[in-house]
Symmetry: C2
Subunit: 197 residues, 2 copies
Amino acid sequence: MARRSDHTRAELEELILAEGHALMAQTGYARFSAREVAKRIGYSIGTIYNVFGSLDRLLMRVNSRTFTLWTDTMRERLDAGAPDRIRVLVEGYFGFATANPNLWMAIYDHRIAPGEALPERYQAQRAELIGIIEAEIRRTLPAAHADRATPLARSLVATVHGHCMFALTGTFALLGETDPQGAALARVRESLAAAGG
Amino acid sequence: MARRSDHTRAELEELILAEGHALMAQTGYARFSAREVAKRIGYSIGTIYNVFGSLDRLLMRVNSRTFTLWTDTMRERLDAGAPDRIRVLVEGYFGFATANPNLWMAIYDHRIAPGEALPERYQAQRAELIGIIEAEIRRTLPAAHADRATPLARSLVATVHGHCMFALTGTFALLGETDPQGAALARVRESLAAAGG
DNA sequence: GCGTATAATTACACATCGTTCAATAAAATA
DNA sequence: TATTTTATTGAACGATGTGTAATTATACGC
């Protein structure tokens, strides 16, 4: 088995996380297992628990990594400089989810116990992605309606999210919808227009 | 243990289904277990498998029951005769999900293997709910845009679904949104207005 | 370099899960 | 009543998350 000298604690943490992320991408939330991660990196199951404490916390970290990746992707796409930035946002949302269905779905498959709040760090991640979107939406609104940007951003993310979820789970295919992304973009445009954008 | 004379096959099936539905409502998808259902009705785990074949099929049936309940609720609300029928639809969607969070979420937590299609019977259920919504949307559109009703219905269901999901999973609470239902209704209204409704 | 204290790692145990299936009990039939 | 058919059981299997005692490797003091 692996020796202490092989990795520092931080390196081991990163190793587990990277392999966990890969496993999640490959098998999805339902088939993810800490034991499988351990097997793949050549450590025993106990080590995973020594480093992460529980499956729950490992899942949080795996999903956190996905979220970072997602946010980075969104930023890169925006920075590419396409003129239609709203389209870039919607395509960024859909594009990441479609390219990484298991990773993206895992974010929403893993539920926190209703009582407890999401740890600060993860709340901040969520807020950051919303912040990027909100900034773009604010740009499209007239100054008189700037105060609408925050609630509208949340609501439009939910709109796109719903379309994205239906696309990935096959609900749209079942109903004969062939262009979920186009539908989402159309809805977003309509709401922005209604807000004076 | 229970004897054959206690129930006909159909009654036993109904007994399992009813108890399974109750368990799902109580504990949610993640904690649902066929063994627990067996324990609660006083049969052994083997009997569950004799009747339903697999956990997967039992889950389908439980979710199917939820879907029927949901559709009935929507129809009843519409039949109550409130003038603003679009509002009734959105409130029906939210109302059922909020009143039965575990049951409603289980519908979307239980995924079919990507290859296989949902059995005919369940496809029809889905189509029926969409049909009810589509009919109402068609009524709000001018005759010239009647052809938009079908894709618009699918898209607006996704819109409301996204808001509902964010509400139940706590995403909206995290972002400070206090009226997800109101936001969903506003988005629906904007899109209907854009279509000439 | 040796021995000890500290940290990392493992191996095992436990309870749970879905699933299968030979054995058993009950009912139906002849 | 004897026999066949059907219903039901519960033990077995492999896998899961999760603790913890035991073991091993490293670090440190001398």
